[in-house]
Amino acid sequence: MMKSTLTRRAFAAAAAAVMGFATPALADSHGGGPMMDSIHFLIPGGAGGGWDGTARGTGEALTEAGLVGSASFENMSGGGGGVAIRYMIDNSESQHGTIMVNSTPIVIRSLTGVFPQSFRDLTLIAGTIGDYAALVVNTDSDIETMDDLLEAFRADPNGTAIGGGSVPGGMDHLVAAMVMEAAGEDPLEVSYIPYDAGGAAMAGLLSGEIVALSTGFSEAIDLANAGEVRILGVTASERVAAYEDAPTMVEQGIDVEFVNWRGFFGAPTLSDEEAQAYRDVLAAMYETDAWEEVRARNGWVNIHNSGDEFRAFLEAQEEALGTLMRTLGFL
C-alpha cells in the first residue's frame, strides 16, 4: 500500500510537471500544436463496458484530431464505480492530469446513499454524449403502441412484466416507472423484472418471459434493425434521426423525457483554469472528423453540457429522479 502511494506520488509529480508545461501551450499562438499534452482517463469499470467505450472513444478522437498529444487509460472497477470516485477524491492533488468518465448512475447511486459522495464532491467538466431510453416489445407481440401497453397494464399489471438490465430502483426500472407515472398510472404497480445485464434482459424478452423491455435507445435501434423488437416509445423530445420510425413518448401523450448522459469529472481540487482547459478541449472535439467517426460508429448522440450547464442539468435530473424514487419507496 505504502509503496504504491509513493510511486503514485512520484508519478503525480512528473504529471504535474508535464501539466505545467502544457498550460502555456494552451495559448493559440501555438497554432497547429495540441491544446493539451496528455489526458489520463480513469474508467470506474472494467474493460469493454459503456464507460470504457466512452473514455477510449473520446481519447481516440482527441488524439486522432491532434487536440491532445497522448491519452492513457486506467480501468479501476469495484463498488459499481464507487472505488474510482473515492480514489479521485482521496488522491485529488495527484490527479490533476486525470478525468473520470461517469454517467446517470452516479446520480442514482448517490441518492440511495450507495455512494457516500455525489457529483458535487468532484469538479464537473462536461456531459459529452447521451442515450435516450426506450420501451420495446417483441416484433410478434400484439402490443403495437404505448396505448396498447397501457391497456394491457391496466387489465393485468402483474402479468405485464417489464424487464430491464438494472436492479430495482436502477435506471431501467426508473425509466419504466417514470413512463407509467407520466401516463397517469401508479408507478408502484409496475412489475419490474431485473436482469443482471442487457443481454440477459433481451433474451428474457425474446423468450416471452417478460412483456416489454426498458432499455437504451441505441441498443433498441440495433434490435429493431435486426427485426427482433418494436420500439413503442423513446424518451426524446422529438423523433431521433438515427431511427425516425420510433415514436416519442411525448407524441403519444405521455409527457416524459429522459437522457442517460455520459460525461467527465475532474479531481475536486482542480483549479478553474485547469477545469476550463478540459472543457475547451472537449468542446473543440465536436468539430473534428475524428469525433464524428467515433460517435457514428458507436451510435452516440451528442448532448453537450459544459461546466455550469452540466451542473444545472445534473441538479434537475437529481430532483426528478429523487422525487420518483421517493414515490417508489427507494429513498
Binding site: M1, S4, G46, A47, G48, D52, G53, R56, E60, E74, N75, M76, S77, G78, G79, G80, G82, V83, R86, T112, V114, N158, A161, V167, P168, G169, G170, S191, I193, P194, Y195, D196, A197, G198, G199, A200, M202, A203, G204, L206, S207, G208, E209, D222, L223, N225, A226, G227, E228, R297, N298, G299, F330
Partner: protein
C-alpha cells in the same frame, strides 16, 4: 449451405485474413496465459485495432482468433500452476494440475490442446448446420429453467467430494454460496455483508477468489510441505515433463469423452444464460458419473478423462455461444457482449437477417473458426515442451514466480490495491482449510453458481408469485429431478460398492 461455405472459404483464405487468424491466436494464447487478463479484457483492448482494419470480415476473424486463443491460453495457467484465470477453466485444474504435479505436464497440455481442438471443431460443424434452427432453442429457457440448471450444476459437487469427504464438500459449497451473497446482487438495490467496505460493494471478484482458493494455498503448500514436493514433479522427471505422447489406450479412453462433451458442451453454450463455465462443470460431473468405479477413483487425482471433459466442453460451449450472438444478437456472456459491440461498431447487425444480408461475414466467421482451431493446435503442440518446462524451474524460483503471477492476476483487472489484501486474507484462510483437508473446489463452484442461482430463483419467484414454477414448468421439474438423481445415484452406487467390498451380500 455449400454455397455459403464457398463464400466463407474464399473470404477467409485471403492472405490478410489468414495472417489475422494466426496473429489473433498468438496474441490470445500468450495474453490469455496471464491470470487476470481473460478473453474479455483482451478482446476489449483489441477492438480499436480491429476497427482500424476496417474490413468487417478481417476484423471479426482477428477478434475471433483472439477469443479462441485466450480460452486456450487460459487452461495453461490452470494446469501448470493451479491458477485458473477465467471461470471456464476452473474445472480444467481439477485433474490438469494433479497431472502436472505428477510430472505429466506435457501430456496434460497436449490433452487440453487436443480436447479444445476437438470441442471447438465439432462445435463449429454443429453451428454451421444448426445455427438457424437453434436460435429457438436458445430461447427455450426461462429464469425457472436456468435456476434448475444451476441446481444441476451444484449437484455436480458430489463429483468433487472424494471418498468420505461428502460432509466437508457440502460445507465448502455452502461457504461458497454464502460468499456469493456479498455485495449488491443483481436483484437488490442494497449492498449486503460488505462490512462497509466499498471494495466489496460489487462482491468478491472471481479472479481474486480463484487465486486465493487455488493458486495461493498451493504455493503455500509447496513451501510448508517440502517433503511432498520432493516426490512431486520437479525432481528428476524432467524428461517426462516435456513428454507429449499419449498412448493408444489413453486415446481410446478419452475419445468417447471428447465426443460426448463436444455435443453436450455446444448445446449448453447455446443457452445465453449458461455458457462455458456451466458446460465445463456439468461435463466433468457427467463424465465422472458414467465412468467405471476404478476410473472414478482417479477423478481429482490426475484423470485424463477428468481433464478432457471440461476442456472439450468449454471450447464447444464458446462456439455454441455464437448461435444466440449471430442469429439473435443476444450476448450470452461478457465476452460475447463485447464481440457484439464490436460487430455493431463495424456496421454489422447480428440477428435473424445476418445470414441473408451479410452472408460473407457469417460464413467468413464460421470458416475462420475452423482455421483458428487448427492454427491453435499447430501453434501450440510444438510450444508445449517449452511451456511445460516452467515446472522444471527449481522451487526456489518457481514459487515466487507463482506468487507474483497470483498477485498480479488479482490486481491487474481492477487496479485496486485492496484486492491484494483481500487475496492474501482469503488465501491464508484457504491455506488452513487446505491443510485440514477441506476441498476448495466446491467453494469456488458454489461461489460461481451462487449469484446465478439466486438471481434466477428470485426472478422466477417474482414472475410466478411463489414457487409455482417448479410444478408449472415441466422442464424445470425435469432438471430438478435430474439434479436429485445426480446426488442420489452416485452415493447409492458407492454404498453398494462398499458393501460388496466388505463381503456383505447385496440384493
Amino acid at each position: 449451405m455449400l454455397e455459403g461455405l464457398m463464400i466463407g472459404l474464399s473470404t477467409a483464405f485471403s492472405v490478410t485474413n489468414v495472417l489475422m487468424v494466426i496473429g489473433g491466436c498468438l496474441i490470445g494464447t500468450f495474453v490469455g496465459m496471464l491470470p487476470g487478463l481473460g478473453p474479455m479484457s483482451i478482446i476489449a483492448i483489441m477492438i480499436p485495432v480491429a476497427i482500424t482494419i476496417g474490413d468487417p470480415s478481417a476484423a471479426l476473424i482477428l477478434l475471433a482468433g483472439v477469443y479462441y486463443g485466450a480460452i486456450f491460453g487460459g487452461s495453461t495457467s490452470s494446469i501448470l500452476i493451479n491458477a485458473p484465470g477465467v471461470a471456464g477453466t476452473v474445472a480444467s485444474s481439477f485433474d490438469g494440475y494433479p497431472m502436472a504435479r505428477a510430472g505429466k505436464a506435457g501430456k496434460a497440455l497436449t490433452i487440453a490442446a487436443i480436447a479444445s481442438f476437438a470441442g471447438g471443431t465439432v462445435g463449429v460443424v454443429l453451428l454451421m448446420i444448426f445455427a438457424p434452427m437453434l436460435s429457438s432453442v436458445a430461447l427455450l429457457f426461462h429464469s425457472a429453467e436456468y435456476f434448475a440448471l444451476m441446481v444441476v450444476g451444484l449437484s455436480a459437487i458430489a463429483a468433487f467430494a472424494g471418498t468420505g469427504n461428502v460432509a466437508k464438500a457440502v460445507l465448502m459449497t455452502l461457504l461458497g454460496l454464502i460468499m456469493a451473497t456479498v455485495g449488491e446482487g443483481a436483484l437488490y438495490n442494497l449492498p449486503r455483508f460488505t462490512m462497509g467496505l466499498m471494495d466489496l460493494q460489487s462482491g468478491f471478484s472471481f479472479i481474486t477468489l480463484a487465486m486465493a482458493m487455488f493458486a495461493l494455498p498451493e504455493a503455500m503448500y509447496l513451501v510448508l510441505n517440502p517433503a511432498r514436493s520432493e516426490t512431486g514433479g520437479e525432481g528428476g522427471k524432467q524428461g517426462e515433463i516435456k513428454d507429449l505422447r499419449i498412448s493408444r489406450a489413453e486415446a481410446r479412453s478419452i475419445a468417447p469423452v471428447i465426443g460426448r462433451q463436444s455435443i453436450q458442451g455446444f448445446f449448453i453454450g447455446v443457452l445465453p444464460g449458461a455458457g462455458a463455465t456451466i458446460a465445463s462443470f456439468l461435463g466433468y460431473a457427467v463424465e465422472r458419473n458414467i465412468a467405471t468405479h476404478e476410473e472414478q477413483q482417479e477423478f481429482g487425482k490426475g484423470s485424463i478423462k477428468g481433464l478432457a471433459a471440461p476442456e472439450t466442453a468449454n471450447n464447444a460451449a464458446c462456439t455454441g455461444s455464437f448461435v444466440p450472438l449471430l442469429t439473435l444478437g443476444i450476448p450470452g456472456s461478457g465476452t460475447t457482449a463485447i464481440l457484439l459491440g464490436a460487430l455493431i461498431a463495424l456496421n454489422v447487425t447480428p440477428g435473424p437477417r445476418l445470414m441473408v444480408d451479410d452472408p460473407q461475414i457469417f460464413w467468413a466467421v464460421i470458416v475462420s473458426m475452423y482455421i483458428g482451431n487448427l492454427v491453435l493446435l499447430v501453434l501450440n503442440l510444438p510450444l508445449i515442451p517449452y511451456i511445460a518446462k516452467i515446472l522444471a524451474v527449481p522451487r526456489t524460483f518457481l514459487i515466487p514466480f507463482i506468487l507474483f503471477f497470483t498477485l498480479m492476476g488479482a490486481y491487474i483487472g481492477q487496479n485496486n490495491a485492496t484486492e491484494l489484501l483481500i487475496l492474501v486474507g482469503l488465501g491464508l484462510i484457504a491455506t488452513i482449510l487446505r491443510f485440514a483437508d477441506y476441498p476448495l473446489a466446491p467453494l469456488l463452484i458454489g461461489f460461481i453458481l451462487g449469484s446465478m442461482l439466486e438471481d434466477n430463483f428470485s426472478r422466477a419467484m417474482q414472475l410466478y408469485n411463489g414457487l409455482g414454477f417448479i410444478l408449472e414448468r415441466p422442464m424445470t421439474l425435469g432438471l430438478l429431478v435430474l439434479a436429485a438423481l445426480l446426488v442420489v445415484v452416485p452415493s447409492y452406487r458407492a454404498r453398494r460398492a462398499r458393501l460388496r467390498a466388505e463381503g456383505v451380500a447385496d440384493d
